[in-house]
């Protein structure tokens, strides 16, 4: 539209002049953003590509490429140590994720209703549990377990010892904190009136939780579950300390391997791991996508969306 009546105002003329320049600016900035992000993603994936690549390296010295082979996969798959390490990793990570998610979520819900001082203490602890360097917590936890066990064993003649349960227990500390944080963040962002509406429609607190609160929290819970799983699946320090006979996990195996230099076998194992987890992710994604469709796509982008919505 035009308003010839109005005398040309300065800035507008300036606008007229800068018009071309401005157009470029928008595109330039956008281009820069795209470029930057592209590079960052490359940066993130480069090592992965290398790992996958070198898992096909004929040379046992990972650093030098001599030729293509798939032997390492068959070797890895035959290697009993690898397999048991794999089994252990799962039997550590899975219960861990489940328990941590349960306990963390419960706590997050409970913390809404506790008196302020209690909440403050809890926050502080959550906070510290993330600050403490892993080595420290690892060693002190080991000491705690060991002395505790020997005490109990002497007392009761049981033969409690380090093993998968101790690893799970130790990992859960950190994982509970993570889940707690995620779920609380979500809770605080939740629309309170939905709960009231549900009460108003005769739903008891429990039913309200099941039908309203829980679905709303699901994103946070799933994200927490995934993070917990990843953490305890990939943790070396704590695990190496509190592991017992027959409970070495994949990272421990890999660390031992590394003593002899990263071999293509380790790469092969890592590659397989990657694809296993990717498969899990895909499955979860599908499940959520379906769930999303059913429950109305509240969570866009499925699992990713869920994680995306967090923190």
């Amino acid at each position: 539209m035009s308003a010839p009546a109005i005398p040309v105002a300065g800035p507008v003329r300036a606008g007229g002049r800068t018009k071309a320049k401005v157009d470029r600016w928008n595109t330039v900035v956008e281009a820069w953003l795209r470029g930057h992000s592209a590079i960052v993603y490359a940066f993130l994936y480069l090592p992965i590509v290398i790992v996958v690549l070198f898992s096909f390296n004929a040379n046992r010295l990972a650093t030098i490429w001599t030729g293509f082979t798939t032997d390492w996969y068959s070797i890895a798959l035959k290697d009993e140590v690898v397999l048991s390490a794999l089994r252990n990793s799962f039997s550590v990570a899975l219960p861990n994720a489940i328990l941590a998610t349960l306990i963390g979520t419960a706590a997050a819900l409970g913390l809404q209703r506790v008196p302020k001082p209690v909440r403050i203490v809890f926050d502080a602890l959550t906070y510290v549990s993330i600050i403490v360097p892993e080595v420290v917590i690892a060693l002190s936890t080991l000491v705690l377990f060991a002395s505790g066990f020997s005490f109990i064993n002497d007392l009761t003649g049981l033969r409690l010892q380090l093993g998968i349960p101790t690893i799970v227990a130790a990992h859960m500390l950190f994982n509970i904190s993570i889940v707690l944080l995620l779920v609380r963040a979500r809770l605080s962002g939740m629309d309170r009136t939905l709960v009231e509406a549900s009460f108003d429609l005769y739903a008891s607190p429990w039913r309200t939780f099941r039908q309203i609160t829980f679905p709303q929290l699901l994103p946070a819970i799933v994200a927490g579950f995934l993070l917990a799983f990843t953490f305890s699946f990939d943790d070396y320090v704590i695990t190496s300390f509190v592991s017992g006979p027959g409970s070495s996990t994949l990272p421990i195996f890999i660390f031992g391997q590394v003593k002899r230099g990263v071999t293509p076998e380790t790469n092969a194992v890592a590659t397989m791991m990657l694809f296993v987890t990717l498969a899990l992710l895909a499955v979860g994604q599908l499940a959520l996508a379906r769930g999303a469709r059913r429950t109305g796509g509240v969570q866009q982008g499925g699992m990713a969306g869920m994680i995306a919505q967090q923190r």
Binding site: F54, L111, I130, V136, Y236, G301, Q310
Partner: protein, 298 residues
């Protein structure tokens, strides 16, 4: 219709809800007490003990462990870590902020995808990925390449603080991007429009509106990456060739190589305290003048 005798029903409900609350919070509380408070107490106790002849802990009450902390060669790693952690945090910010902004400004569906792409790499063993960098940055690859470009035959990335920095940024980037992304994503777009409408160009708008509003996420992110960086030791020993000697390495040396647990504990206690203080100060500093709008740290 409402049942009768509401009063005692109410009373009963109150009792039950209290019970429920405890039931909900108890397990987590138990965990914190058993596996955080107790171990930390052990650490504190240890920090006053002495090293047994063959390593480990010998009960006792001495302060040498703390006094030893103040020796120059003990302070040095702390300073180095401080610098590295700060540099790393800034690095994560420089890399992560534009990325978060990019993702946050994509179409609804794409966002999810980009976030997912961000997570996937972290499904492979951290160790393996770090070793992969050895190859990437190796002389026969990137390192050499850059070397040739700048015409310096024995130019190296590996074994330099730069490599460690890169490793740190690589390792902790998502912890920075997530919170940033979330705050940017939730931000009211019309604020940006309002700013432009009032004559602020892109950069001015970013500086005066977007950034201040993304501040909470920025703080959360910085802390989430800063803390673990202080305790990091695998990255420096692998990518840094053990030439960049950080707090984490010092701790590991004390606890494992020389098995001087009391001293290690003292170091840990010191570190934790310092971090708590720094973070509290940092948060307080950033929250200044944001009346009533406190930034939650985590």
């Amino acid at each position: 219709m409402a049942e009768t005798a509401p009063a005692d029903r109410a009373g009963g409900r109150r009792g039950r809800s209290a019970l429920l609350t405890t039931a909900l919070v108890f397990p987590a509380g138990l965990w914190y007490v058993a596996l955080l408070v107790a171990p930390l107490l052990i650490v504190v106790v240890f920090s006053f003990g002495t090293r047994a002849t063959n390593g480990g802990y010998e009960p006792g009450f001495v302060l040498d462990n703390y006094t030893r902390l103040l020796q120059p060669q003990r302070i040095e790693p702390f300073i180095t870590s401080l610098w590295m952690a700060i540099a790393g945090t800034i690095g994560c910010l420089l890399v992560g902020l534009p990325l978060a902004y990019f993702i946050a400004t994509r179409a609804r569906r794409r966002k999810g995808l980009f976030i997912l792409l961000l997570v996937i790499p972290f499904w492979t063993s951290f160790l393996i990925r770090t070793y992969a960098w050895l190859i990437v940055l190796g002389r026969e690859n990137l390192g050499g390449l850059i070397g040739d470009l700048i015409g310096d035959p024995d130019f190296r990335i590996l074994g330099t603080p730069l490599a460690v920095l890169l490793g740190l940024v690589y390792g902790y980037l998502p912890l920075m991007v997530f919170p940033l992304y979330v705050t940017l994503e939730r931000m009211d777009r019309t604020l940006v429009e309002a700013s432009k409408d009032l004559g602020a160009a892109r950069w001015a708008t970013f500086r005066q509106v977007t950034l201040p509003i993304a501040l909470p996420g920025l703080i959360t992110g910085s802390i989430l990456v800063f803390i673990p960086m202080m305790g990091e030791y695998v990255i420096p020993s692998i990518l840094g060739y053990g030439r960049t000697f950080l707090m984490g390495n010092a701790l590991v040396d004390a606890f494992i190589q020389t098995r001087n647990w009391p001293f290690g504990s003292a170091m840990a206690v010191g570190l934790i305290l310092v971090m708590l203080v720094t973070i509290t100060l940092y948060v307080w500093f950033v929250n200044r003048g944001r009346h009533g709008r406190d930034v939650s740290v985590l």
